[in-house]
Amino acid sequence: MKEKLSQFHTAILIYMIQTGVYVFSITQVEAKYFGTNGWLITIPVSLLVCLNIYMMYWVYRLGKGQSIFVILEKSIPKFILTPFYLAISTVWALIGCLVAKEYVLIFQMFAFPTTNPMVFKIAIDVLAFILLTKGLYNISKASTVFFWSTIWMSLLLLYYVGEFRIERLTPYIFKDSYSMTEGLFQIYLAYLGYELCLLLIPYTDKKTKLFRAVFYGNLIRTVSYTLSGFVTFGVIGSDMLKVMLFPLLDLLAYIKLPFIERIENLFYGFFLFTTIITLVLYFWAAGESTQRVFPKIKINVHYFFIILVALLISYIPTVLNTIREWLMYLGYIQIGFAYIMPLILILLLLWQRRKKAV
């Protein structure tokens, strides 16, 4: 019998998928769209995510642990599903790939301004491929190791106690804001990744309590976003945050040890761990989907081609802003998927149940 995902590993896995390159700039988005005390927005958005997770839980309950692909294929003919599978796997593969490319471009801006970024990108893709070939259980274990090697950085927030001023937070909530609806979507993008839990269903059993794990994962992410937002607003202030592209990196640059300065580049390296899990899981999801179209091909070949195609497409955007734009649109599609997919699945399941009863 195959090993099933444990609750702890799954919670951490979800947190790690949610943690991508967005962590560097989320506080800037909060300040830009929500103005004063924009960090508070993470809480209502997280509640929305929880609502969405609850929707997905009903898919699990009604489907009694069936894979979402099985549910779909029971009622929808293959010729409709094939293009859908291919399209959604393209979206997933691209999200994974572009997240990595954005990470590389930021790294390049700081450390290697004239080296071809695709060299680093390919190196990361090779790592991702090696991790992918080990299977989901091992990925989840690796992500736990990566979690412990990065979560300690939250303690760095204590470093800012001296610089934190409550006056900078101001007593106003969401004043100086701009287009809050758009901002809401932008912040939602920072939470994406949890929706992949729909694909985890067949890899779990009752003991996993999958959706409780997803909820916990999201909770860790929310607490981390909220705390770092609180500290960032108190240290930098919402006015300056609006003009900073990567506030987290500037905050990290604040840390200075007696024997070493410019330590932020070192810290930045640690974020590779969280980025790599995000990209591996999106590639994995793309693989799950393409496997339904070409079931006879070995899974590693799937991954190889997915990574290759995504890599080739990722050659097109070379400017950081374009990548962010692409990621934003892909993210919007993903938000759509996160809400519409469970809805369709619940309807299908109810219909299938009725048909059975008749």
Partner: protein, 368 residues
């Protein structure tokens, strides 16, 4: 398995080759440590940089490059033609602005510094009374090489609160934040012998407006935030009528700002500052071991500092600057709409600001 390992090994060997494009060889790099910006009388900008020498073949301790250009990046290109080393700014520690440039506004120059990812946001900023270039170019025989000398001086003085520690990050934050104006330490060259800190530069937005004299710098620190460590020399002759001098040291200061609201908006702003410290030098008639006389001395010191504080606030009101950040407290108290309607610089002139100091002599040494 063997094949897999060989492939991986090959890949590992090939990958680093790509990195050769951006390689950095330590001996070939000129790490800019300090840079200075000046405005020349004809309106042109003059830049100079100081680079510590690591090459054992040269006897010089540092290299100084000078250029006149329209922007700092252009100046760097000109300087680059003067040296065999590749100029990099990753280790930049200090930026000095000549006072003439500071009067014209620093924003454009600070923007370049902040935008460049290779420059740390922890770079220290100072204003030089006179020409920043001249101060940086000179060697001061009794001191370490000039760049390091300035850096050590600023670090040490900031610890004692005689100047604020102002980094690029601090300066930019106060520049962008509402209800507070930036400050920077002032340094000055004395002949070819030494450099001193010389008070605090007060900015309106990004323009230098006026300064606080070095002897009053600690009073500014009392009002700006809480701190530990520092000393202040107090001449109470004016208050007492008799000759009386106190050296008040090992200071611990805490501060509270109270904004009182009235019908017309803000009625008054009060600074409550509590200072404790030791008196290790006292010239005067009071007996420090007598509790009553000590309390009287405490009161005289409080009076003295309060007076200085009031004068400082009057100076800021006169120049319409708010370097203490009184505006941030008022903003948080009056409500968002009212704050937006307010022209804070003008409003500040009307609002009474009071400094109440509460001084405690913690100890007076090991002698009665």
């Amino acid at each position: 398995m063997l094949k897999k390992c060989t492939c991986l090994l090959l890949l590992l060997c090939i990958l680093p080759i790509f990195g050769c494009g951006d390689q950095r060889i330590l001996e070939d790099l000129g790490f800019i440590q300090t840079t200075s910006y000046d405005m020349l009388p004809n309106g042109e900008l003059s830049f100079s940089v100081s680079i510590p020498q690591a090459d054992p073949e040269t006897s010089a301790k540092r290299e100084v490059l000078i250029a006149t250009a329209k922007s700092s990046k252009e100046a760097r290109m000109i300087m680059s033609r003067q040296t065999g080393m590749l100029l990099v700014s990753g280790q930049l520690r200090n930026v000095l602005f000549g006072i003439s440039l500071a009067e014209n506004g620093l924003h454009g120059h600070l923007d370049t510094l902040f935008r460049d990812p290779s420059i740390s946001s922890q770079v220290k900023i100072s204003v030089v009374e006179g020409s920043a270039g001249e101060l940086l170019i000179d060697d001061y025989k009794q001191h370490p090489r000039t760049g390091r000398y300035i850096d050590m001086l600023l670090e040490k003085e900031a610890l004692g609160q005689t100047i604020p520690k102002v980094t690029l990050f601090n300066f930019a934050r106060d520049f962008f934040d509402q209800g507070v104006d930036p400050v920077a330490p002032i340094i000055k060259k004395h002949g070819n012998n030494y450099i001193t800190t010389n008070g605090i530069a007060l900015f309106r937005d990004d323009r230098y407006v006026t300064k606080i004299e070095p002897q009053d710098a600690l009073v500014f620190a009392f009002l700006k935030s809480k701190f530990r460590e520092g000393q202040i020399s107090i001449d109470l002759t004016e208050i007492n009528g008799k000759k009386e001098n106190v050296m008040f040291s090992s200071l611990i200061s805490t501060r509270k700002v109270k904004v009182t609201r009235g019908v017309q908006g803000v009625e008054k702003v009060t600074y409550h500052v509590k200072v404790t410290g030791s008196v290790l030098e006292y010239i005067g008639d009071a007996r420090l071991n007598n509790a009553r006389e000590r309390r009287e001395l405490e009161q005289r010191i409080s009076q003295y500092i309060s007076k200085k504080g009031d004068a400082m606030i009057a100076l800021m009101k006169k120049h319409q600057v708010d370097n203490l950040g009184i505006g941030t407290y008022v903003r948080n108290r009056v409500g968002y709409e009212q704050w937006k309607k307010m022209n804070w610089r003008q409003e500040l002139q009307k609002i009474p600001v009071e400094c109440l100091f509460d001084v405690h002599i913690k100890d007076y040494g090991k002698f009665r």
